[in-house]
């Protein structure tokens, strides 16, 4: 094999169809080893010998595939266990019980609260990414006429990759989707212009920029949706206390106050609880969709 780039290209081919994040990890592991071996070996070791010790692209691809299969099995197991409803000793029709538990069990699942936290955080990260992007973009553009502007642009592009990695870790921790666990490697032997060109030709650089803007819109929408649904649920559930204890009417027009009928109180509260639970299902769904989006936009091919 002629070069490290060629090896990585073949490894990528061998890993075709594997999880994108696994591919990225495998490539940076191989790159770390091969470059370190070439740099530190005594008397200019030949690349072929180094590859012989490291393993051929096919062997290495197999190793990552086997391992990832083990890991995801280990990750999935507890989730599967949690999804199985506890057997209830009271003899009730099993069908309704399962649906009931499945519906309300959403509160007991860690994944729900991870997504909940993520969607709340997205409001803040969305604003931060948006500000950083336009600040960096404008600043780089404004300084471009000066020589120093190119350096600033390069630093800005590096910061974008840092954000992609950080956001990926957040997504993996809270939404439970495998994302790259280490930064993408940038070659050190290509010089300043090579680095700039590499960053500018990476699809991930541009999609991350789009993501940074999209996050503001999505984060705001998530926040608005959650606040709206949760406050309506809380309003419904809180009716008895608001009306019976604090004497606050459900509705007021200019000359009349409307109160909930006593017989309707339980129904209103149940409605609120149902709405709240449905909101948590929506939160999970949004989290899942957002994780898919992040994976497409933040992980390089």
């Amino acid at each position: 094999m002629a070069s490290i780039e060629e090896y990585l290209e073949q490894l990528k081919k061998e890993l075709r169809g594997a999880d994108r994040a696994v591919v990225q990890d495998a490539l940076s592991d191989a790159e770390e080893y091969l470059r370190t071996a070439l740099a530190s070996g005594a008397g200019e070791p030949a690349l072929d010998d180094v590859i012989e010790a490291y393993g051929s692209p096919a062997e290495i691809a197999d190793a990552y595939r086997e391992n990832e299969a083990l890991i995801s099995r280990a990750h999935v197991m507890p989730v599967v266990e949690a999804a199985v409803p506890e057997p209830v000793p009271v003899p009730t029709p099993p069908d309704t019980r399962n649906v009931f538990l499945k519906f309300f069990g959403v509160f007991a699942e860690l994944r729900t609260w991870g997504a909940f936290l993520y969607l709340l955080l997205a409001f803040g990260t969305g604003i931060a990414y948006f500000i950083w992007f336009w600040f960096g973009f404008g600043f780089s553009l404004g300084m471009l006429p000066l020589i120093i502007g190119v350096v600033i642009a390069l630093l800005f592009l590096f910061s974008i990759r840092g954000i992609a990695l950080m956001e990926g870790k957040l997504v993996e921790a809270l939404l439970g989707v495998r994302m790259p666990r280490r930064p993408l490697f940038t070659r050190r032997d290509v010089g300043f212009w090579g680095k700039l060109k590499f960053l500018l030709t990476q699809r991930q650089t541009w999609t991350t920029m789009v993501y940074m803007n999209l996050q503001l819109v999505l984060g705001t929408a998530y926040f608005a949706i959650m606040v709206a649904f949760i406050s309506v649920s809380a309003w419904l559930i809180g009716r008895p206390i608001a009306e019976l204890v604090y004497d606050l009417p459900a509705f007021s027009t200019g000359n009349a106050d409307f109160y909930t009928q006593y017989w309707a109180m339980p129904l209103v509260m149940i409605g609120g609880a149902l709405l709240l639970t449905a909101t948590m299902h929506l939160v999970r769904l949004l989290g899942k969709m957002h994780a898919g989006l992040a994976k497409v936009m933040l992980v390089s091919e």
């Binding site: 592991d29 770390e32 370190t36 012989e52 010790a53 393993g55 290495i60 083990l70 666990r181 050190r188």
Partner: protein, 123 residues
């Protein structure tokens, strides 16, 4: 003849797959400071002399999976010349696991030796 070579290779691979996590965890338990993949691979190679039993590249995914199981933790640090390196260190959970793994290894070794030597000494 080729068939035998083939079976030897397959057996080597299976043995490596079964023991590499024990070897890696034990190396990191003895290490006084965090180590990165290439260092670990070279250390193992030096102890073995016979290269090719474990492909060095196959160690990386094992490190990664042990990290996600909480037995190891890692940090990426830029290096002066070359790509950034991921430094691994063993966690308390990793040390606890290693203790149990060594027991299992001891039992397995004794069992296999007993069988290989024809079940002498009442096994």
């Amino acid at each position: 003849m080729d068939d035998i070579e083939e079976s030897v290779k397959k057996f080597q691979k299976e043995m490596a797959a079964g023991t590499s996590s024990l070897v890696l965890l034990s190396v990191l338990a003895r290490a006084t400071e965090p180590m990165y993949g290439y260092q670990i691979a070279k250390l193992i190679e030096a102890g073995f002399h016979e290269t090719g039993i474990i492909k060095q590249g196959a160690l990386y995914p094992v490190l990664r999976s042990m990290e996600s199981a909480g037995l190891l933790e890692s940090e990426v640090e830029p290096s002066v010349s070359g790509p950034p390196r991921r430094y691994y260190r063993i966690t308390d959970a990793g040390r606890a696991a290693l203790g149990r793994w060594e027991e299992v290894w001891d039992q397995t070794r004794k069992f296999v030796e007993t069988i290989l030597t024809g079940g002498e000494g009442n096994g």
